[in-house]
Symmetry: C2
Subunit: 194 residues, 2 copies
């Protein structure tokens, strides 16, 4: 595609970069994909990719369909004293997804995952690589959590989101965020700090 | 449609009954729909609907896309001593959905819910009416669970299924059922028996 020469910006260019990135992430995974490689194939300057997406993590979030910065926010939430970590994780997760835009994003994400193998693959990569790893590593090497407990924390958050945003099952859909924190934080706390 | 007269069976008739039932459940909800009404609109004898689907609950399960009898199995799992109820619920849920057919069904179910408002509505009705109610009522009137805690139990099971069957996140997708019981039963037990 470099035959087209480099383009300098605009909405079409942004969409084109996303298209190229989607293909490369799907074909080569997160580690095998670089901003430089995406820029080359899209026929743009790498600086433009950085400008639009704030580097590879931001580009990947956009492709996967998760809100930018969710990884950093969850990492920050688990940091600090072990006490209250469960509460902070649930509260952060709700802050990221609550609100009309988050709901729509979550619906779109689940729809894509259910209908496209490629989307499922990308999201699996994202969940394993970033969310679960940042949950597990926060406690340091010596008392790292067993993987399955970490995945169970992820399952609780995702399941809550499914009932709240997609199925809209009444008590979960209508509840005040702090009510959900009160009911979900204890089990998550018990998994994070056995 | 009664103008067509009654038909006596065959694969097309079964599919036609399902189509009619899907429309009626969506329009009138579970309580407003009857086997007799479905039979009338499909132009068949009510006995044929009973024969194919084992009554209204079976018809509804088939329309929603959940395995037949899941409601009874979960009710049976929660029955008995409070001790060990969490384990029995997780084990039952895994027995219903594990295996290739269950996995495919779960994927199809999530896909339908994400893309069709009507499917989301039907599944919400099913989850609220049957699963959550059978979880809550099992403990009798005096110590009935707060709704949100029951919904949180549902969220944990659904979230686990999403990671295990749809995203196939490694530790959750590969784990032995009993490993999942070991990690998920304690939080569910704590929610069921505070």
């Amino acid at each position: 595609m470099s035959a087209r020469g480099r383009r300098s910006g605009g909405a079409d260019t942004r969409a084109e970069i996303l298209d190229v990135a989607r293909g490369l992430f799907a074909a080569k995974g997160y580690d095998g994909t670089s901003v430089r490689g995406v820029a080359r194939e899209a026929g743009v300057d790498p600086a433009l990719v950085h400008h639009y997406f704030d580097g590879k993590p931001g580009l990947f979030s956009e492709v996967v369909g998760v809100p930018a910065g969710i990884e950093e926010q969850i990492t920050a939430a688990v940091a600090g004293p072990h006490e209250g970590a469960g509460e902070r994780v649930v509260r952060t997760f709700l802050r990221v997804w609550d609100g009309p835009e988050g709901r729509d994003r979550f619906r779109a994400l689940v729809g894509a995952v259910a209908s496209h193998e490629e989307a499922a693959h990308l999201l699996r990569d994202f969940v394993s690589r970033s969310i679960l790893r940042s949950l597990a590593h926060i406690f340091g090497d010596e008392d790292v959590l067993p993987d399955l407990a970490v995945a169970a924390v992820g399952a609780q958050l995702v399941g809550m989101a499914l009932l709240r945003y997609l199925l809209e099952v009444p008590p979960m859909a209508d509840a005040d965020p702090e009510e959900i924190v009160a009911v979900l934080a204890p089990p998550i706390q018990a998994l994070l700090v056995p």
